[in-house]
Symmetry: C2
Subunit: 216 residues, 2 copies
DNA sequence: AAGCTTCTTGACTGGATGGTCAAACTTGAT
DNA sequence: ATCAAGTTTGACCATCCAGTCAAGAAGCTT
């Protein structure tokens, strides 16, 4: 009778992160990088393990040595993304200057579109599909945070420190405008010319827009 | 030797639309409706003919009696969509009142998000994937139209009739803000509460926003 | 009702795809 | 150098999926 040896993926099944060798850390990162590239453009079902394997420069069985399944890779990517997805909004400080705070939030979100466009598209893909895998996150974590910050903005408008606006739509508008530059980068690139940086001028435009919107 | 009979799909291969029977028109429409539902949420690769068949209440071979292939269904949907996708922007009239015209454009786009959210998501899916099937449309038709209307807006700002703004980013912002309500409807619904209409208050907010942005 | 055309579908095929496994190879500690 | 653990992969399997086909059912026309 053969005793199957445990794979790293199995060992990592427990809640706490187990110790990983240098090779394991390196290859898991390579795989996640490749998977992010593939999942973010083709979606979960549209992506194949073979594509990811080629992108990662590893064999398909090797992928499954480091992760239990295609789904596990995807889950790991989403988990890591959601961990930081809330940060920009979380940093919005009720004690700061309203205009400065909102402007800084917009700038942080735009920076995320610049630095992590693939993560943004991964998230967009999930929402387009009805958010089946992130429903809990949105209904609980995201919703609570948005409700909280909406109250902050509401207090600012009530105090006359910024112009009256619906705080929810204000937040949605920042999401829409900043994420558009990551999610629709292909379209923007084709319209503005391919040499052009899609985000060129975006920050100035958004700064101008929100300055005018918020001025009391 | 058996002589294969022509199917409707084959007959419709030519450029001009062939005459179709009552049943053909009805079933093709049913299939396109079902396919729009499935493609818009799962993307091209994520959708299966079986899903579409179930949604349409037809058998899978029956689908392929009316359309040559999965790809042909998808192409037909995109073709019909692109035909009307440009209309709202095309209607922007260089001879009209600047603020009125831009506001009306924004309202038309928002109306499309309300009336055709699935079409919007179908398009979003295409762009997320790098726009492989609509690249020609974007590089030629859409780009020419945007360039044209950007010049119109530029003339308006040059004449001081509206505040100075980058015309391209102005157009992109209208796309981002209006399409967000269709493409991210799932997220908005989960945050605002499921009884809520995601578009509630959107028009008032956008009207307010663009009024402030454009005032000279 | 007969006879032709259009429409419908159960059963099937070939290729893609997620996942398995045992054997081989590599690494590192002694 | 040796050995055990960790790593890699060719070959394989089961399932899914787009697409085919031949035979039968439903509509039309006379």
């Amino acid at each position: 009778m053969s005793v199957p040896r445990a794979t790293p993926a199995e060992k990592s099944g427990s809640v706490k992160t187990p110790p990983r060798s240098r090779i394991q850390r390196r290859n898991r990162q390579i795989i996640l990088d490749a998977a992010l590239e593939v999942f973010s453009t083709h979606g979960f079902r549209g992506a194949t393990l073979d594509q990811i394997a080629v992108q990662a420069g590893l064999s398909k069985p090797n992928l499954l040595y480091y992760f239990d399944s295609k789904d596990a890779i995807h889950r790991e990517l989403l988990t890591r993304l959601l961990d930081t997805w809330l940060d920009p909004l979380r940093m919005l400080d009720a004690g700061g200057d309203p205009q400065t705070e909102i402007m800084a939030y917009m700038r942080r979100k735009l920076q995320m579109s610049r630095d992590f466009p693939r993560e943004s598209r991964l998230f967009a893909n999930e929402i387009l599909q009805g958010a089946p895998r992130v429903e809990g996150f949105i209904r609980n974590d995201l919703r609570a945070l948005v409700d909280d910050k909406a109250r902050v903005v509401q207090a600012w408008t009530d105090a006359g420190r910024i112009a009256k606006t619906d705080p929810y739509h204000l937040i949605f508008s920042i999401w829409a405008l900043t994420q558009h530059y990551a999610d629709f980068a292909a379209q923007i690139g084709m319209i503005r010319g391919d040499g052009h940086d899609p985000l060129d001028g975006a920050e100035a435009f958004l700064k101008h827009l929100y300055t005018r919107l918020l001025a009391p």
